[in-house]
């Protein structure tokens, strides 16, 4: 009775184990292939991309920033020249950077850009945090509907949406017409071409970049921690400030930088909604390049902006690596 069952079992086991070995060998072959070639390639592709589309253009801009403006084509001097004794001579001109520092306009513009993007970031946080919190707490279908509504604006052109705001905020625009119709005001309020309009534009455009990382962070948060805190006698407000807020700092930093960095260099919004009244570095750069045709100064403005933004970017990197370590 026992023997045939036993041998049958052994046979099937043997069969299984040969299959396993065969299977493993194949896995190893495929694995090795991927490890030796594809792994290298898959790492190389983003690096190649970065070098071609980021590093090389960056060095070109850097090179131009050290050149001198000329009326020529291209409209700047060359860094490298062959001198008479056939030696390569490099001329670095720091005048552009000195000019940025000496001329009040640039320093003021940089400071104003940082001010506007800082305030916008704080506004985005104050509006976005409760929204992200509400989305996380919403149930089932409602949650995805709300999340979709946050992402939905990305389906239309950014430029178009800023134009829409022009229509809303203009003297004869939707908002003023409505307020006059409602009898709140007699005269249209001037909203366009002011910092107010720029704030509206930036906060509106970058709000999703604040909400999404906060949502991801809040979603992961263990709700029993809230219960534990309230069980220990903490009022809901205390629970928020002692448990929820500290545990969502990574999300706040990520969202903050995703808003702050692009907002600082923003060009379209201050140009369309701020007009000539709002000084922001993106517009100055555009004017320098397009109206003054001073490529070297424009390049210097860009480099200075990059340096200004590298600090928050490094902070972001640091925060991310800390989050990964945790």
């Amino acid at each position: 009775m026992i023997k045939p069952t036993d041998s049958a079992l052994t046979a099937s086991r043997l069969n299984e184990s040969t299959k396993m070995i065969f299977h493993r060998r194949w896995v190893r072959v495929v694995d090795n292939f991927f490890q030796s070639r594809w792994k290298g390639l898959s790492v190389a592709i983003p690096y190649v991309w970065l070098v071609i589309f980021f590093l090389i253009p960056f060095f070109i801009v850097l090179k131009i920033s050290f050149a001198e403006s000329l009326i020529a084509s291209p409209p700047f001097s060359s860094l490298f020249e062959w001198s008479e004794d056939a030696a390569l001579k490099m001329t670095l001109i720091f005048d552009n950077f000195a000019y940025l520092w000496e001329d009040d306009l640039y320093v003021k513009t940089y400071l104003n850009s940082v001010k506007i993007s800082t305030i916008s970031t704080i506004l985005c946080l104050l509006i976005g945090y409760p929204m992200a919190y509400a989305i996380v707490r919403a149930s089932g279908t409602m949650k995805y509907l709300l999340l979709l509504m946050v992402i939905l604006p990305f389906w239309t052109s950014f430029l178009l949406r800023v134009y829409a705001w022009m229509g809303i905020l203009a003297d004869q625009g939707t908002l003023n017409s409505f307020l006059i119709w409602a009898g709140v005001i007699d005269q249209p309020i001037r909203m366009m071409y002011s910092e107010f309009a720029v704030y509206i534009g930036i906060v509106y455009s970058y709000l999703p970049f604040m909400i999404l990382p906060l949502y991801a962070n809040l979603e992961k948060l263990d709700l029993t921690l809230h219960e534990a805190a309230s069980d220990l006698g903490a009022h809901p407000i205390t629970v928020f400030f002692t448990v929820t807020l500290p545990l969502t700092i990574p999300g706040i930093i990520a969202g903050g930088l995703l808003v702050f960095i692009p907002a600082t260099g923003e060009f379209v919004i201050p140009d369309l909604l701020g007009g000539g009244n709002v000084l922001m570095i993106g517009r100055v750069l555009y004017d320098e390049f397009n109206s003054n045709h001073d490529w070297p100064v424009a390049a210097a403005v860009a480099i200075a902006l990059l340096i200004l933004l590298v600090i928050p970017m490094m902070l972001y990197q640091h925060a991310q690596s800390r989050q990964i370590n945790n």
């Binding site: 263990d222 219960e227 069980d231 220990l232 006698g233 903490a234 002692t242 448990v243």
Partner: protein, 369 residues
């Protein structure tokens, strides 16, 4: 505020020890829109440690969460220390209940150190008193060397201790524990169960624990309520649950055992395929009633002169004892716990006798309670 009652807390110590601290009066709760708890009542006295035991999905955690104030109730009321904390549409928030909870996965604050975790419930104390209280707790739990570590740097047992210390530090009226040992491995589990039980007894802490593990329940509970489908089936001491289960479900759920069919011969005897069984008390069945008798593994005794002959179909070595699954010649399955020296292999024939001092009898096919 409250009218005078003879059971008010301002009574003598003797009185207060038998006084109910927690009263759950006929509560019902929903879970995910479905009724999970049906008209459940229980009373826990001061200094008592009780346990709700049941399979997953029986509603035991919902009861615990209702007591803690995390879950609304649809009928009935909950009183802690004579104060109504839960009624229909009227809940005292969890932070005002003076209840300490130990959560299933501990729910330690990951951004706070052990010291800060334990101090979390002591916000209303001055810094000095708080430090003293935390220090005392750290020492009591043997955590002094880990005070400045973060929860993720601790082992499971240490995390368990921190969770307990955090819940006990604000001196709650009532301690609630939701499967507190489920994340620990078996050995540590038994050890912690014993340790926690000793500590709670020593400090006279009133405690309600919820578990699906009967060993945990027996280690900690003075009284154990076995729950099934949103109701307490039996509320009793661990000893009685094992030896005098009142329903088929409890008999099946607690401990090992098999049911054998038989007929009631007269009020004192049951006729089974394994012979006549004597009952120590009068049986509440009519003659010839079809009934089933519970046989625990320790009721089946190894005896070379025994009248029942059975074949070993399975064996599980447990050190001092071996648990055998036997099949009699009539095909009746039995579980038997023999001393380790009664060593048999699968297929061997053994002789046993039944040594049942208290018959546990149910109506046949009463599997649905």
């Amino acid at each position: 505020m409250k009218p005078y009652s003879p059971n008010s807390p301002r009574q003598s110590l003797l009185r207060s020890e038998v006084e109910p601290l927690l009263e759950v009066r006929g509560i019902s709760c929903n879970y995910d829109l479905e009724r999970a708890v049906f008209d459940l009542s229980l009373t826990v006295h001061r200094g008592e440690q009780v346990c709700l035991l049941g399979p997953s999905g029986c509603g035991k955690t919902t009861v615990l969460r209702a007591i803690a104030g995390f879950h609304p109730i649809l009928t009935g009321s909950i009183l802690i220390n004579d104060q109504q904390v839960s009624a229909v549409n009227n809940m005292v928030p969890p932070e005002a209940r003076r209840v300490g909870m130990v959560f299933q996965d501990h729910a330690l604050f990951p951004h706070l150190t052990v010291r800060e975790n334990i101090a979390a419930g002591l916000a209303q104390l001055s810094a000095g008193l708080r430090g003293e209280s935390v220090g005392e707790m750290l020492e009591r739990m043997g955590l002094s060397h880990h005070a400045d570590r973060y929860p993720h740097e601790l082992s499971g047992g240490q995390q368990q201790r921190v969770a307990l210390a955090r819940a006990l530090a604000p001196k709650p009226l009532l301690l609630l524990m939701d499967e507190p040992f489920s994340s620990l491995d078996q050995e540590l589990r038994e050890h912690m169960g014993q340790e926690v039980s000793d500590m709670l007894k020593e400090s006279g802490t009133t405690c309600v624990m919820v578990t699906h593990d009967q060993n945990d329940a027996f280690a900690l509970g003075d009284k154990v309520g076995v729950m099934s489908e949103g109701a307490i089936v039996q509320w009793d001491t661990p000893y009685n649950l094992y030896h005098q289960p009142q329903t088929h479900f409890v008999a099946d759920f607690i401990g090992n055992g098999v049911f054998i069919n038989g007929q009631c011969e007269d009020k004192k005897q049951v006729n089974t395929s394994l012979g006549m069984l004597q009952s120590d008390i009068a049986l509440d069945w009519s003659n010839d009633a079809d009934i089933e008798v519970l046989l625990r593994p320790d009721d089946v005794v190894y005896d070379p002169d025994g009248s029942i002959i059975a074949k070993v179909t399975r064996r599980a070595f447990k050190g001092a004892q071996i648990m055998y699954t036997l099949r009699t010649l009539d095909g009746v399955k039995l579980l038997a716990l023999f001393p380790s020296h009664a060593n048999f292999g699968i297929g061997d024939e053994v002789r046993v006798r039944l040594d049942v001092d208290h018959l546990v009898v149910f109506e046949q096919n009463s599997t649905v309670d």
